[in-house]
Symmetry: C2
Subunit: 311 residues, 2 copies
């Protein structure tokens, strides 16, 4: 563990002094001075991201560009060696694939998408540096049964269990299906990224094996959640396949279960600044596997445009 | 049981022939000919109810009129004899009241509300006769934890377990709190009331003790639900406290769990036509208790106006 001078203490013992939520000590947009506007986002978008902690791009890509990823999911479902690995999460009853981690290493198609200048340009501008992929996955949330997940900050986990030092990462979620009010869309609390909420409960060994199914640790208490939601409200952006969500690493989010007949699938990839590479976990005894938190494959991404004619 | 000439067979054995959904044999609006327009609803509203199976009245009563019901809930929470009775459903962990059944018999205030001419007039028009209360309750769905319930037709249960002969009942749900996208609002499938979906699974004895917690029987299969939702879509009306939902007994509905911090409470009361009083259950060995399905207290309701100056 790595708790000396920890800027963001969490996973506190029940017997510890209660630590109130406090204002983050990191910027939200990391590009300083004149570099702030060196990139595709204008000041309106930058200010909105600073205020809310996320940006929603309805119909960012056309829907056809999403189709190949369903092909890849279908191919993986045939690959028995793949299915047996830790990085594939299957439905316990049906055996269907729910998530595949480290997709950018398995799929050249996925890898190129994470380096698309249209996305990577925004991310470099927000993080004020070169970046690499900290974690990636494809999610397939079936109709009628897909489970939700409770409110949490990703940064709280990445800091506590992965040793991510500061809030200098951005998550991208790209919709493979329509996102509507009923198929368990991502819900966010605007403005919640400004506060760090220390969570109670020590991290057990190999916590990730349980937390990928349902998160019980790193969950803010109800009082803090109530304050955040009553201040900022809750938003659940809707849009067609190809829509893109960029959200700050510390923005509180959740999703409800999907009891509609309509599946909800998306790609998820986390960019971290090369100046924010992982250290020892701040609140866990050992690091999580590479497919959940990259320590080796952290070379800066270079842009790759699959559609140069559109640039 | 009472399965001779059953117009709506359900709770089929696994080994029975599969019975496909079929079009209902009962009208939706029961007032015939010139009597159709003898009431507060105009043809636009009547046609909409026939088409969708529900009518939503945003802000039907003012919010102040809802306040006394919270008082009554608080008073009941002090009443130990009441808490111990079957008709009160408590949270298994916190002991908080989740639902109280037969509220119209416990509370004069509630009883008068069910006889308010503004509601009772519409219901008599829709059912084309005098009416009585088949079931009533108050629901309190807390923030962060309130469970949802899965898709079902109320009529399927009332017919199978209570012996309600025909589709000639209307449910009223009156909101005690704001209903928003995030606190587990009622979701309905417009147009689904036109079809009866026979469900598979025989009714065990005392099924109601389990089904009040989570419904496992009387649940349509996924194929039928998918067809209904793809045809009619899903709607979840939103509005302030005091909003009123009237929905037809056979309209498919559900609600998601409430992981917002905002509680969701409502009053729920079912009107049945006096020409549709209960018989023996069509698919259960014994009838459910009076507080779930009135057999004794079925005298026609008479109007009572608490606010005659507004009439």
């Amino acid at each position: 563990m790595n708790q000396t001078n920890d800027a963001y203490p969490s996973r506190l013992k029940e017997t510890d002094d209660h630590v109130e939520p406090f204002i983050r000590t990191d910027p939200v947009v990391h590009s300083g001075n004149k570099y702030r506007w060196h990139g595709p986002l204008d000041e309106v978008a930058l200010s909105k991201y600073e205020r809310d902690g996320f940006l929603w791009f309805k119909g960012f890509f056309n829907q056809e560009r999403m189709a190949p990823f369903f092909e890849e999911l279908r191919e993986m479902a045939q690959d028995k060696e793949m299915l047996a690995s830790d990085q594939v999460i299957q439905d316990p009853t049906t055996g269907d694939i729910r998530s595949v981690f480290a997709m950018h290493e398995l799929s050249e198609h996925f890898s190129r998408l994470t380096r698309d200048p249209r996305i990577l340009g925004m991310v470099q501008q927000l993080l004020g540096s070169e970046v690499y992929i900290h974690q990636s996955r494809i999610n397939d949330k079936l109709g009628f049964e897909g489970n939700g997940f409770y409110w949490h900050s990703d940064f709280e986990t990445w800091h506590s269990e992965d040793g991510m030092p500061r809030m200098r990462a951005v998550s991208a979620s790209l919709m493979l299906t329509d996102n509507n009010e009923f198929n368990g869309p991502l819900m966010l609390i605007p403005g919640s990224h400004h506060y760090f909420i220390p969570c109670v409960g020590e991290t057990p060994d190999l916590n990730w094996q349980q937390s990928l199914k349902s998160q019980r640790l790193g969950v803010p208490d109800r009082k803090a959640l109530g304050i955040m939601a009553n201040r900022g409200g809750i938003q659940a952006p809707k849009g067609p396949a190809g829509s893109l969500m960029l959200f700050e690493s510390n923005t509180l989010h959740a999703s409800n279960s999907n009891i509609s007949p309509w599946p909800r699938a998306n790609l998820f990839f986390v960019y971290n600044s090369v100046d924010n590479r992982l250290k020892e976990p701040y609140a866990a005894n050992s690091a999580r596997p590479e497919f959940l938190a990259a320590r080796e494959n952290t070379a800066p991404l270079t842009m790759h445009d699959d559609f140069p004619a559109l640039a």
